[in-house]
């Protein structure tokens, strides 16, 4: 088939009906631009919200869960093997929260190629004393450089510096809510009671704000050593090992592997944050649905305009057929016509979509609860642009197909004799 000629005819038909063609293309442009802006904005927000939780959660976390032993003695005993055993009032076994042999585990983890970095942590529930009031809270003893590398903790420190925790012993960074409640500022000394009854004084070197009130009201950071000292434990005492992977999608699989390897409780980010995943998914589905609806509407516009064009161009179609163009050739003329409108409209749509996204991206968006966010978030993922253009081409091809089939079936004899 002579495609240059067919496309040439299509282009000339467009030029003869330039206004309608432009209107049809604008429909596609609008659809694609909106599709891209909507998806970019929606997913930007999704990423922001997920980031609030996910960036602060390790992909894989190793810890000791408080739970009863899976194998009760009676189940292990050979004598009762064939019996049905009922055990009531089972209590969890006290294994302590410490991860045994933590140093060796960390060394093995660091050698795993899928692992970006490992950060050990000590968490301890404590009471913050202010006057006669005790506020419940949590102390996280962190390995500062590792924690900074994995979770960018410094992003959430609104006053002070996270590395001061290492520079000075017996120092603490507390949540903004906690600081407001206790009326403390940097340099003040606060008193902490551990659950075992010990009383410790720590100097405040920073204030942090994550943007989730519940966390800001209870959370505090100290160095690993300070937390171990707080609990009266040795330098090998670790309660959590946090792991970040090169690809978060591998987390469930890796978690299972570690669980079997180290005989320890392991949780992956997906399981830990399943409710966030659901929210993101629903928002994505909504934005895709709206975007695709817009494109389908644009498709109907193209369908109408092509149908009109075919009625207007009956004579031309008849003579093309009489002079040797087959039904197939005529079909391709109208399909290419439709595709040209779709591709041109779609490309402009990508451009406008990018522009609109960029405009949203520079609109200031400042809230006290999100200190790291200055403007509205936008996701510029190339996938949306690819999907947008693919869908524009598909919609216009389908919208063009029916009129094109109709044109290919036009009987030139009827048109020519009708005159």
């Amino acid at each position: 088939m002579n495609f240059t000629l067919i496309i040439n005819i299509a282009v000339n038909l467009i030029r003869a009906r330039l206004k309608q063609s432009i209107i049809a293309a604008v429909g596609v442009t609008f659809g694609i631009a909106m599709f891209i802006t909507l998806l970019g904005f929606m997913n930007g927000l999704n990423n922001l919200l997920d980031g609030l939780m996910l960036n602060r959660t390790p992909h894989v976390r190793l810890y000791n869960e408080v739970k009863p032993s899976a194998d009760q003695p009676v189940l292990i005993s050979k004598d009762y093997k064939n019996n049905t055993n009922f055990i009531e009032s089972v209590k969890p076994k006290d294994r302590g929260r410490e991860i045994y042999n933590s140093k060796a585990i960390i060394n093995i983890l660091k050698q795993d190629k899928r692992v970006i970095d490992v950060a050990p942590k000590v968490t301890a529930p404590v009471f913050f004393n202010t006057g006669s009031i005790e506020i419940t809270g949590v102390v996280n003893g962190i390995d500062v450089p590792a924690e900074e590398h994995l979770f960018k903790v410094s992003d959430y420190i609104i006053e002070g510096n996270v590395f001061d925790l290492n520079n000075e012993n017996n120092t603490i960074i507390i949540g903004k809510g906690l600081a407001e409640k206790m009326l403390v500022k940097i340099g003040d000394v606060i008193k902490i009671t551990t659950i075992k009854g010990g009383l410790v004084s720590l100097k405040v070197v920073g204030i942090m704000q994550i943007g989730i009130a519940e966390i800001d009201n209870t959370m505090s950071y100290t160095s690993l050593r300070t937390a171990q000292m707080l609990l009266g434990e040795s330098a090998s005492y670790i309660t959590d090992i946090q792991v970040k992977l090169t690809d978060v999608l591998m987390a469930p699989e890796v978690a299972k592997e570690y669980q079997a390897k180290f005989k320890i409780d392991v949780i992956d980010a997906q399981t830990a944050n399943s409710q966030f995943e659901t929210g993101s998914k629903v928002r994505s589905i909504i934005s895709y649905a709206v975007g695709i609806t817009l494109l389908i509407v644009a498709g109907f516009g193209i369908y109408n305009i092509l149908n009109m064009m075919i009625y207007e161009k009956m004579d031309s179609i008849a003579i093309l057929k009489a002079t040797g163009f087959s039904g197939n050739d005529v079909k391709w003329v109208f399909i290419s016509l439709s595709l040209i409108i779709g591709i041109v409209g779609g490309l402009f749509g990508l451009l406008f979509g990018f522009g609109l996204s960029h405009i949203i991206d520079i609109i200031p968006f400042e809230t006290a609860s999100l200190p790291t966010i200055k403007t509205y978030p936008i996701d510029y993922k190339i996938t949306y642009y690819v999907i947008g253009l693919t869908f524009a081409v598909c919609t216009t091809a389908i919208a063009g197909l029916f009129p094109a089939l109709k044109a290919s079936k036009i009987d030139p004899v009827e048109i020519i004799r009708g005159k």
Partner: protein
Amino acid sequence: MSKKVLETININKYFYDPVKFRVLSDITMSINEGEFVSVVGKSGCGKSTLLYILSTMDTDYEGELFINGKSLTKKTDKDLAVIRNEHIGFVFQFHYLLSEYNVLRNVMLPGIKLAKYSMPEIEHRAMEHLRTLDMAEQALKSPNQLSGGQKQRVAIARALINDPIIIMGDEPTGNLDKKNSDMVFEIFNNLVKERNQALLIVTHDPDFAARTHRTIEMADGRIIS
């Protein structure tokens, strides 16, 4: 004995709407190279119907049709389109020029479709045809800037572009005045003389028919002479 360019054997055609009606009965005829044939008859006698069957555009008939010795019965739409493109030239009562293209491009279009020659060559041939028809000055004009007679001449040039073995006309002078009709007849006559072109023209103009080599007269779907 010159070569038969077109031949039919026992062609029958029926219309089914509103009732079954036999439009053509046992049409057997042939046209030779260099023959100028006209088809006349009252309106409704089936002469145009016959022409469209011969032109391969209407495929709903019984019997056999040969063009250049090859049977065309039961060929696909695509094959027939190729045959129309290469071997048949058309001139209709109405010019059917594409208003999107200029005159030259209109003439070139079937040639580009056939793609037997390169673009510059097709253009050159188109210009040659326009020149013989005295239309060279109008080559770059749009078809709707031309008069009726000029348009018909462009349509003839378009019919000639692929050197067809036969040119068919459906009342090509039907819309033209006496002067332009004579001119179109002269063009046809010259084609026969100079290029040994076969021509089959349906007309209701008795003067036109009288001047052709042979006249086929039809009545009620039959050839009567």
